[in-house]
């Protein structure tokens, strides 16, 4: 049986994202194709499905078939439950962990300026979007958090570099340097209403 046919069946039957290596392992031991052959098959399948409402997409844990986003208005109606919504606090905590990992809870609190509730960390751990990747070697040995493949999978990304770009903080020092007497402008509330 032709490799592409089998790879397609495996991807549909797996019900989870499959890496090229994992696909290879599904083949009977003595008939495992080369990884490049599997990759070629995958590329061909991706092409095959272009006219269809589903797509084979590479995300962090591998390839998965998913319904294309443009069909969501129809497909969403299949499910009575509304998709889960996440609070700003949770999304900000997640963003800090994603961009600043590895971070401790204290680091997150420093950036957000408020304490982080345990339930947020708990929710993120339960969703397996974040994981404990170590302990910081300071008193109390706080947990260091990082994001997981499941986080990328859920947000349809294959690597962290696909996340929105974080604007770098560059203007601060120059601005202060350019502004030798900040007091003057500070005490000049030109925009007061």
């Amino acid at each position: 049986m032709d490799i592409k046919h089998i790879v397609e069946a495996i991807l549909f039957a797996a019900h989870r994202p499959m890496s090229v290596k994992q696909i290879q392992q599904v083949f009977p031991e003595l008939e495992q194709p080369e990884l490049t052959e599997i990759q070629t098959a995958i590329d061909a399948i991706i092409d095959d499905y272009r006219p269809h409402p589903i797509e084979l997409k590479l995300i962090a844990s591998g390839y998965r078939f998913q319904v294309k986003a443009e069909l969501s208005p129809w497909v969403a109606r299949l499910f009575e439950e509304k998709p889960p919504k996440y609070s700003r606090a949770l999304m900000e905590t997640l963003a800090i962990i994603a961009y600043r990992q590895p971070v401790t809870r204290g680091d997150i609190e420093d950036i957000r300026g408020v304490s982080v509730s345990s339930s947020i960390i708990q929710t993120l751990l339960e969703r397996e979007w974040i994981k404990v990747i170590g302990q910081k070697p300071v008193p109390g040995r706080p947990s260091l958090y990082g994001t997981s493949k499941q986080f990328l999978d859920y947000f349809n990304l294959s690597t962290l570099t696909e996340l929105p770009t974080l604007e770098e903080i560059h203007s601060l020092n120059e601005s202060i340097a350019d502004n030798p007497t900040p007091q003057a402008s500070r005490e000049n509330p030109q925009t007061t209403t």
Partner: protein, 261 residues
């Protein structure tokens, strides 16, 4: 700096009814709603105050912002919004920065310790960046909302599950446990026919199962020698004793027949 009377009675403070908001507080008509929709923290509130007035973070007018900030947290207190200590801490920091700026500059000291205003600006900037990307991540297409997994049924596939292994050792230990239990309640006894006899009993019954009856002598196989004959004979006797077979002689001196009951 017009305060807008939003409600006939805004709140009760120390027994006194509050009808108007503090004078120095600029509140656009939709602000109260925003206010009630709790901020994510003091940095968030500060950012809100700055952005609302189209101010640049770098050049925030500390005195003005401090006033507004304090007015807001007073209002939040008045409205019974559960206020975290962080809000008060920020108020203290703002007050400190403000008071510092009223003092003559002391370049020597400032060089040594970090300017608290610069620190605050950096924190505001960093928080703003995170707030922005968090919003962008929230808008990414994601599973369960814009993207849906496909489900293809696999129940018609035939998949042979590997069967559990059973090491002989485990089987024997299980039997040992049975024997120990039986010994303790000695009303039962496991008699000690040799296994060869029990095996032969099964074999004979199995044979008789497929035929109606068979001739006694057919159950013996010469090739097994004397020991085999003895085992078979004991097995037949045991089967007879347990009333599992019937040994029949149709007429005197005729061949014995064995029959499963």
């Amino acid at each position: 700096m017009d305060a807008i009377a939003i409600l006939p009675t805004l709140a009760t403070v120390n027994g006194a009814l509050v009808h108007t908001l503090p004078d120095d507080l600029y509140i656009p008509p939709d602000a109260l709603e925003v206010l009630l929709d709790t901020f994510e923290g003091p940095l968030d509130l500060l950012l809100y105050l700055i952005k609302r007035q189209n101010l640049d973070i770098i050049n925030i007018p500390i005195a003005q912002i401090t006033q507004q900030y304090i007015a807001y947290i007073q209002l939040m207190g008045v409205l019974n919004i559960n206020m975290a200590a962080e809000y008060l801490l920020m108020a203290a920091l703002l007050a400190e920065i403000k008071s510092r700026m009223l003092l003559p500059r002391q370049p020597d000291i400032q060089a040594e310790e970090e300017d608290p205003r610069a620190t605050l600006i950096r924190r505001l900037q960093e928080y703003e960046c995170i707030k922005n990307v968090a919003e962008q991540i929230d808008a990414l297409p994601r599973m369960e909302r814009e993207l849906f997994s496909t489900l293809v049924d696999v129940s018609t596939l035939s998949v042979a599950q590997p069967l559990p292994e059973l090491p002989l050792q485990d089987l024997l230990l299980a039997f040992q446990a049975v024997l120990k239990r039986v010994d303790q309640h000695s009303h039962h006894q496991i008699t000690q026919e040799p296994l060869s006899v029990r095996e032969r009993m099964t074999h004979i019954l199995d044979t008789l199962n497929s035929v109606d009856s068979c001739i006694f002598s057919q159950l013996f196989r010469q090739i097994e020698g004397r020991a085999g004959v003895v085992v078979t004979f004991l097995a037949i006797l045991e089967l007879g004793k347990e009333a599992l077979i019937e040994i029949i002689q149709i007429e005197p001196y005729s061949e014995l027949r064995v029959k499963a009951i």
